[in-house]
Amino acid sequence: MIDVTLTLNGTPRTVSVEPRETLSDLVRNRCDMTGTHVGCDHGACGACTVHLDGMPVRSCIVLAATCDGREVRTIEATRKDETFGVIRRHFHEKHALQCGFCTLGMLMMAADIIARHPTPSEDQIRNALSGQVCRCTGYMGIVAAIASAAEELRGA
């Protein structure tokens, strides 16, 4: 076992992991934060997306040990975040989720898209969502929610 010291959702903590464990293992199993979902375990579905040093990454293909000294943010830390609050509301209003399993990854990605593209076009949103699999919604509500959330956040 090795110790990983990182800032998880704003709190510094040291977590013991096996070297092979991924960031998703650390978050879900060592820290019992189950808001981050695992849909494939090989980096192809995007459900496990978290922010590492402010950037979305796939926590199932990021080694936990390499996150030593870095800052990790999961969906649990966004519950009171105002920007995420706006994005969530638009997801709700645009019927951007059905079963809810991919939703957390979509939200983590949505916040990044809006941060990088304050006025995202539909193509930009769709391209940035490539690799984020939603099996239920056909993406239309998700794309619409990100566009309208960006618009509201731009006005704010």
Partner: protein, 261 residues
């Protein structure tokens, strides 16, 4: 699935990393291919050396003729213009279509070259740009990308050697790209890149072996291009079936067309 276990080392300097390395070492850069392969247990590691703390593999060096990018430069940094672009827009365009954004935030140009997946973008792009690979090991050495790439998943990297940086000559010539994937973000079935200029360079990947220059086509840009490409394809991807040949021919023609337009 979960990876089999391994020993993990995270050196903080290049000399330490080189000291720690041996024949059984697996190097971890961004890990975006390696971690998936480990998780699927299609590969395993005895000792993993995490390169992410090596400052020698980061940063940029600019000269009038070239830009040298540290091996740990991520696809996203290139996509976003966070590092200088020597290629006249070609590299950001290529970067923006590699896998997915969250993967591009972790994946590195050096890791991609070291793996040398025949369907990957950077070997082909850097071949078209005539880049040079800067390697550290028992000795430091430089190698032209053309010589560095040997075969599918095979380069001249010896056990214990690490890519430190990639030097890319500045390009101002027009270029074109055409990539065929089965869906967005998937590996290329065929990727052709054409860089014009005094000595045009055309590179193709998605082959059975490695990214290849298409030299006959390069010198036939104003001649019987189609025949030249077909002749090149017979060398570049000799085992290609009819579909792959059609596909390669189309991507090469489209890349040239874009470069010339």
């Amino acid at each position: 699935m979960k990876s089999a276990n391994f020993e993990y080392l995270r050196p903080t300097s290049l000399p330490d990393a080189l000291d720690a390395a041996n024949d059984e070492t697996t190097f971890l850069a961004g890990g975006q291919s390696l971690m998936a392969m480990l998780n699927l247990r299609v590969t395993s590691a005895e000792t993993m050396i995490d390169l992410s703390r090596l400052s020698e593999l980061r940063g940029v060096n600019e000269t009038p003729d070239a830009v040298t990018l540290g091996a740990l430069t991520t696809h996203a940094m290139i996509e976003d213009g966070a590092v200088p672009d020597p290629s006249g827009g070609l590299m950001p365009r290529i970067a923006s279509k590699i896998a997915y954004r969250a993967v591009r935030n972790m994946g590195t140009i050096g890791g991609s070259l070291a793996l040398a997946d025949p369907a990957a973008d950077w070997p082909c792009c850097l071949l078209a740009l005539d880049a040079t690979v800067l390697i550290e090991g028992a000795t430091s050495r430089e190698e032209a990308i053309e010589d560095f790439l040997q075969d599918a998943y095979t380069t001249t990297l010896e056990a214990g050697e690490i890519i430190r940086a990639i030097r890319i000559p500045r390009n101002t010539a027009p270029w074109g790209v055409y990539k065929v994937t089965r869906k967005s973000g998937a590996f290329a079935d065929s990727l052709a890149i054409c860089v014009l200029g005094d000595a045009p360079r055309i590179a193709l990947t998605g082959t059975q072996s490695r990214a290849q220059r298409l030299r006959r086509a390069e010198s036939a840009l104003h001649g019987d291009l189609r025949a030249a490409i077909l002749a090149d394809l017979a060398d570049a991807d000799p085992d290609a079936d009819a579909y792959k040949r059609r596909c390669h021919l189309a991507t090469v023609l489209a890349a040239i067309k874009e470069a010339q337009s």
